[in-house]
């Protein structure tokens, strides 16, 4: 387990910034906005950090990361929230477990009607007929977070077309390409938390 390097941090943030807006800064800064000089040790310990362990990136409070140093590397299975993993080519792949981190800061959103929830959760793309509503002025090929009509995040994906274009689309046309959905918790149960 180790902190991220410069390039790794940049890759991770650029991936996260695909889905989130400017409020991503809240991930790094602790919830209380106290200047650094007057921060107590407790605040510092509660600050969230990113840690890399066996090519996976975890997001966790600092005190937990410090505690985890006492566990030997082969014995440490997982810690904090897994954000995703670095591929061997140095790219970053977000996992569904990162949904809880990115959903509150989502830039663009798509709400799926109840009849489209199951097709999405089984790994299908979002078609126009299933869209309840969507964020306006959304360009194509940007990250979106998919919600159900009760505002529960179901997963995330990439827009296939801009909102203006998808208005003219036929009902069976794909609006959002799926990247991860919460159905993966069951489908990929074996590989999601350990390689």
């Amino acid at each position: 387990m180790r902190p991220l390097t410069d390039t790794e941090t940049q890759t991770l943030f650029s991936k996260l910034a695909n889905y989130t807006g400017r409020s991503l800064t809240h991930l790094i800064t602790s919830s209380t906005s106290i200047p650094a000089s007057s921060k107590s040790k407790k605040d510092e310990d509660n600050r969230h950090v990113f840690r890399l362990h066996s090519s996976r990136v975890y997001y966790l409070p600092l005190y937990l990361a410090n505690l985890a140093t006492s566990i030997a590397r082969p014995n440490l299975l997982s810690l904090g929230t897994c954000i995703g993993k670095f591929t061997k080519t140095g790219k970053f792949r977000l996992h569904i477990t990162a949904l809880d981190v990115i959903a509150p800061h989502a830039r663009y959103k798509v709400w799926v009607k109840p009849n489209g929830e199951m097709p999405f959760l089984y790994g299908g793309n979002v078609v126009k007929a299933h869209v309840g509503r969507w964020s306006e002025d959304c360009p194509e090929h940007v990250g979106v977070v998919v919600y159900d009509m009760k505002d529960v995040p179901l997963g995330f994906g990439v827009t296939a077309r801009s909102t203006a274009e998808s208005r003219r689309l036929e009902p069976t046309g794909i609006v959002t390409f799926r990247q991860a959905d919460i159905g993966e918790y069951l489908r990929d149960e074996d590989t999601l938390f350990a390689t």
């Binding site: 180790r2 991220l4 410069d6 941090t9 800064t25 790094i28 002025d137 194509e140 203006a164």
Partner: protein, 178 residues
């Protein structure tokens, strides 16, 4: 290329130095605190002129002609290992950079999409106008044809009728089964 050995006077003359310092120490006890300042070598051995050590850059040797391959050699003076980013400030600067980059990308995408949309709209309008024009032309030709037919019917039809009735009377063959 074999590396040129450097002169290491301190290791070579260690034993001699000791002997001399001992001798000297008797003479000048009050200056014992600084035995290294005295340079006894000069008197015994004429100091070798230090050979100049050329770096590989100076010699102009091609880069491939080395013991270590080009990619493997680590830059000198740099710290070994990775440099971690763990403090909040540096993370914030990286994040700000990434954010600005993403904003720019999205902005340019939006502008592009808007331009494309405008072009598409203009094209659609043009097509619509063309269709309307085409339809009106078709209507015109239809009207003209209709008018022409009407004019012809006014003049020609009665004539045709007369001749046809006359002809029918004269030329039509009739068959009666009786």
């Amino acid at each position: 290329m074999a590396p040129i050995p450097k002169n290491k006077p301190s290791s070579k003359n260690g034993s001699k130095k000791d002997g001399v310092t001992k001798a000297l120490s008797k003479k000048s006890k009050n200056r014992l605190s600084k035995p290294q300042t005295i340079k006894p070598q000069k008197s015994h051995v004429p100091q070798k002129k230090k050979k100049r050590v050329y770096t590989e850059k100076e010699l102009g040797i091609p880069k491939l002609n080395m013991i270590t391959p080009v990619g493997v050699e680590k830059p000198k003076g740099k710290r070994k290992g990775k440099v971690f980013v763990d403090d909040q400030e540096s993370m914030m600067t990286i994040l700000a950079m990434v954010n600005a980059d993403k904003e720019g990308q999205i902005e340019s995408k939006m502008i592009k999409a808007r331009q494309l949309e405008e072009i598409r709209e203009a094209r659609r309008k043009e097509a619509e106008a063309r269709q309307v024009e085409k339809r009106s032309k078709l209507e015109e030709t239809k009207d003209s044809l209709r008018k022409k037919r009407n004019r012809q019917s006014d003049t020609a039809i009665p004539l045709v009728d007369e001749s046809s009735t006359a002809k029918a009377k004269s030329t039509r063959k009739r068959v009666s089964f009786r």
